[in-house]
Symmetry: C2
Subunit: 282 residues, 2 copies
């Protein structure tokens, strides 16, 4: 058994037992048009702008219901059972608090699913970065030679990263305008999604620790992010990982000013000591 | 009368008499989503990615025939007369040489018009720059807080820059997703297109100089680019500008490694001396 300190608590007053995480795969699209940057007056109207080609390509990957339109993308996904949906629905989600914490006026995502379902058990295709042409102050009338985008997908059981990347690469090949050359660079740092049974002995021990520590039953959650090593341990060592972790949603993970509360370090020290005792008794 | 040295020669062996240039207007679109960059696993699926919103917005500005879909964009354009089209068609255009010089396999642009028409007498809406999220080596699983694009349009008679900018701003307002805030910053460096009659006395003198210098009649062309001061001189001083200029299409105007041939400096010196003599005789 493996214990992962990567994960989180629901809030400082409410524990959670995380039963899995999404997988991930990534790629970069490089769109090359004319040999060099061109004058947009001299050439604009006759030569395809690689930014336009990239925009069209990226736009072709979602429909207006925020569904991913890459053919085959959803094919291998295990259907969401009624029980699973009920379990997720049992976790309270306050949309207005959530919106306020993120600083947006509207939530957004795949039609037909609740926000927590979209965050935990539905996949995404997200453009993490885009660039091309002139980005400085003022204006430069350039028709650029190149445009680029970085994409990662969050995956759910039983999507395989290698297959998803191949599907996206085929989609790019089929949809790239003939006026440009679109090249796809697949990242080899992919991971499948990971799920651990709620009644795994490790989870029983974690639940008991959390209940004692907070005085409350933990919510049964999933992580939207990815802990690639969990899938690796499961498939290579045949060992489940359980999560006992204390980060909080407002701690700016992977973003500027990331932080971790000192109180969470202290709580984690207690929790891990308690877990060792709990496991020793089993 | 004004003489403009901004313009070009058709080739080193073939002179051209330019009878006008396109206008220009520009703007920047800033799309703001969540308060700060977010973890794409933790938040991906519930929060609209500003890059996606920007991509959708930009994609909504052209249709599959490369026509600009901003409502009203074409409204004020003077219809292209049969004579004008014939005059443009009389200028030889070698598509395969052109494609080779630019380094593209296919030309691209508004359906129903020849490449020279699209370059000279049809407007464009071109994304000159785009940026958002992570652009470095490797991958960063970020759902960015912002995404940006710079746009310029080349305009033709009688489009007015201020009106075109207002139309684009309205289009952005109507098409921006409710999940983000899209702000438009209009540039105040616009210019209308400019046209000068072929039989203007200045053009008669320029034609005579060019004929003597190259031993050939000049092609009657337009410039795809913009010389804003020509429209300003015409409307403020009531003075036409004529073009006597020597740049060549391969000189990377506004692009890396821009250059100008020394032989063109020498030819221009002779041409301007001849023009002074020619005008003195009138």
């Amino acid at each position: 058994m493996v214990i992962s300190a990567d994960g989180g608590q629901w809030s400082e007053e409410q524990p959670e037992l995380s039963l899995g995480c999404r997988g991930i795969c990534g790629l970069q699209i490089d769109v090359k048009g004319p040999e060099t940057d061109l004058h947009s007056g001299q050439f604009g109207g006759a030569v395809l702008n690689p930014i336009h080609a990239l925009v069209q390509l990226l736009n072709s990957m979602h429909d207006s219901d925020c569904r991913i339109t890459v053919p085959g993308f959803y094919d291998d996904i295990l259907p969401l059972s009624r029980d699973e949906r009920a379990r997720i629905a049992a976790v309270p989600f306050n949309e207005s608090t959530y919106k306020k914490s993120v600083g947006v006026s509207t939530l957004f995502g795949e039609k037909g699913y609740t926000p927590l379902e979209r965050l935990w058990v539905r996949p995404t295709l997200e453009v993490n970065g885009i660039w091309g042409g002139f980005q400085g102050e003022g204006s430069k009338t350039v028709l650029p030679s190149e445009a680029h985008a970085k994409i990662t997908c969050r995956l759910v059981p039983d999507q395989r990263p290698e297959r998803i990347l191949r599907l996206i690469a085929s989609h790019v090949e089929r949809h790239a305008s003939p006026g440009v050359k679109a090249t796809v660079h697949l990242s080899d740092h992919g991971s499948r999604a990971y799920v651990v049974p709620a009644n795994h002995p490790g989870n029983q021990a974690v639940s008991a620790v959390l209940k004692e520590l907070y005085g409350k039953e933990p919510f049964r959650t999933r992580m939207g992010g990815t802990v690639p090593v969990c899938d690796m341990f499961l498939r290579r060592l045949n060992s489940y990982s359980v999560f006992l972790a204390f980060s909080l949603d407002d701690e700016m993970v992977h973003a500027p000013n990331e932080f971790f509360r000192i109180s969470s370090f202290r709580r984690a020290q207690r929790a891990y000591c308690m877990l060792m005792g709990m496991l020793a008794k089993k």
